[in-house]
Amino acid sequence: MKKALLLSVLLIAVVFTSWATGAQDGGGDGTTELRIAWWGNPTRDERTLAVIDMYQEVNPDVIIEPETVGWGGYWDRINTQVAAGSLPDVMQHDYAYLLQFASRKQVADMTPFVDSGIINLDGVDETYLSGGRVDGKLYGISLGTNAVAMVYDPGMLKAAGVAEPTLDWTMDDFAAAARQVFASTGVQTVPFFTTDPKVGFENWIRQTGYPMFDPSGKSIGFKNISELEAFFALQVQLIAEGVMIPAEESFVTLSPQEGFLAQGGSWVDFIWSNQFVSTQDAVDRPLKMTLVPAIANGDRPGTYLKPSMFFSIPEVSEEKEEAAKFVDFFLNDPDANMVLLGERGVPITPEVREIVKANVPGAMQQIFDFISLVGNGYASPIDPPDPAASGEFLKMFRDVTMETLMGIVTPAEGAAKVESQGNSILSR
């Protein structure tokens, strides 16, 4: 029996030894471990990893652990890490979620690092920084500027005998072009922003002067849901005619390489301007980008310039200063930016912008031109960041859009559903 006792003690001892050995991982030997996380695409991953290698070469005592997945998986992962208290040292952030993280004090104020010169923001225009500020504190540094865009295959249009889109294209022009492309070549059209249809409708509703969300964050920002009905109805109509790809197929999450544009199933796609690089990488035909078509009776442009993404330093990081050094390198190092080439959007620091601009390949040149075009009269001011419940709202919006485009509910019912469910999610 003594032996029985001994063995159970032994077992417990093994447990605790494993605990003790597992407890000490990383660090300790003079090196710093930095975890850097971003949502990506193959092009971005390749370039970012190259920059990480460059940084490690200059800083041999820093070991960087990259973490990358796609947009959806990224936020699932980040949310688990928030719950676990194990966010990385540098995380890529989005305008939609930055406010939520800042108000919960999950990301650190980066002002001290800017003041001490670790992060050099000399000459950066305040308009580029304001998106990352909450109550005067800098919770994220913009990595570039973005705007929504329509990307199309001019070759396909030419083959179909359709003129290329102009800057004053309306939704009617778009629908007419889509019909003609389908009639003469059989090539279809993708619905608006299938990964996040809210982006498509936001562009639409902003043209009527209303924001997507009420400034209070407690309700939707628009009163007239007939616009939403029209947004749905246009797509439902095109699907019924066979012109637009049914939601059953077009809403399946795919990588750019597997997407309809790359596979020749669509002549057009809707993206954020910085995604033009990875989209062009995935498609072996030359592409062009332009404004998203406008609604017929709009009061102002719906497009706005948005910080494409931020780098933030989570509050739980124990290596904030090292993290800040990396952010600075990422923003300012000319060689690093020659690799990145503005894939995350048009760079914010003037020198880097000039360097990159002078060296960019064709695809990137189009993004620069597009962003300056949008900045010159085709943009309206950005709305406040999305409210905290936006994650749930976006999922609901996408679900209802799918239901409507699949014909399960009518456009009017879909619009009413967004209004009632949206308000109940936001008011919680």
Binding site: V15, S18, W19, P42, D45, E65, T68, R77, S86, S255
Partner: protein
């Protein structure tokens, strides 16, 4: 004569049908393996099991994963997790099972019933509070939340081993008692050696379950350095960024090799184990 040839025809038909159905059953697996040698464009829209040419590239590219981490690390992690947990769960389960099966102590029946009830308790009930407890004591991003509970035995295995021990004649213990052995000696000298078949079966299944475990690593291992093969495969095949299907299938195929190897080596025990214990594979 006619009836005999009809019988032969029937037998042949039976074999053909059984084999055809078997082929359908393993087709998906063969498809995955063959895809691991194809280019991504070859994979799209093709049901063929024969790659145009055998590409080893997929394995090289896949193994490199992203950044500086390679699948070497993930296989190491998976092996560490699977082996360590399995040793723990088998030893402690056998130990506990002996207590329940051979010692008629006070409360034995009660605790056995409690243990039986926990078998039908869905993991979801304890998932959230366990996560919070482990988070509070700083066990996140270690293997402890995954391994330590295994050292406490698994009710399912304990139950099976209790059944097994009850099948061993009590006379053996009694003669040992006369020789002056205590419970511990009876366990180590008499029962444990006889438990070999049960131990092998539980070892195999424990290894399988740990190797294929996904939810546990998903919750507790948030750093790429700690990913198990399952988790790395999921991240690798993220629907928004994954394009390199050849490499994904190559790593998927590799992840099945330990499972297959054990299956081939221990098939006899597996069949027995499942048949006698009603265990799910």
């Amino acid at each position: 004569m006619a009836s005999k040839s009809r019988k032969v025809a029937g037998k042949i038909l039976f074999q053909v049908l059984m084999f055809a159905f078997g082929l359908i059953m393993i087709y998906p697996i063969l498809w995955m393996i063959s895809n691991s040698f194809k280019t991504t464009n070859e994979i799209f829209g093709s049901a063929s099991l024969l790659p145009e040419k055998l590409l080893i590239d997929n394995y090289v590219r896949g193994w490199r994963y992203v950044g500086r981490l390679t699948f070497t690390q993930f296989f190491k992690n998976s092996l560490f997790y699977s082996c360590f947990s399995t040793i723990g769960v088998v030893v402690s389960s056998a130990f506990v099972a002996f207590g329940f099966a051979r010692i008629p102590f006070k409360g034995s029946k009660f605790w056995f019933a409690v243990m039986f009830l926990t078998m039908i308790l869905p993991y979801q009930v304890i998932m959230v509070p366990q996560f919070i407890i482990f988070q509070k004591i700083g066990w996140i991003n270690t293997f402890k939340p995954l391994i330590v509970p295994m050292f406490m035995g698994l009710p399912f295995f304990i139950f099976l081993m209790v059944q097994f021990i009850r099948g061993i004649p009590v006379e053996l213990d009694e003669s040992a008692w006369i020789d002056g052995c205590g419970y511990f000696a009876i366990f180590t000298r008499i029962i444990a050696p006889l438990m070999k078949p049960a131990v092998i079966t539980t070892t195999i299944f424990s290894f399988y379950w740990r190797w294929e475990d996904f939810l546990g690593p998903l919750l507790y291992l948030n750093k790429p350095k700690l990913y198990t093969v399952s988790l790395a495969l999921r991240m690798f095949s993220d629907p928004q960024t994954s394009t390199d299907w050849g490499a994904i299938f190559a790593m998927g195929t590799l992840s099945l090799i330990p499972v297959l190897a054990i299956f081939i080596a221990f098939q006899k025990y597996l069949d027995q184990g499942i048949a006698t214990t009603g265990m799910k594979g």
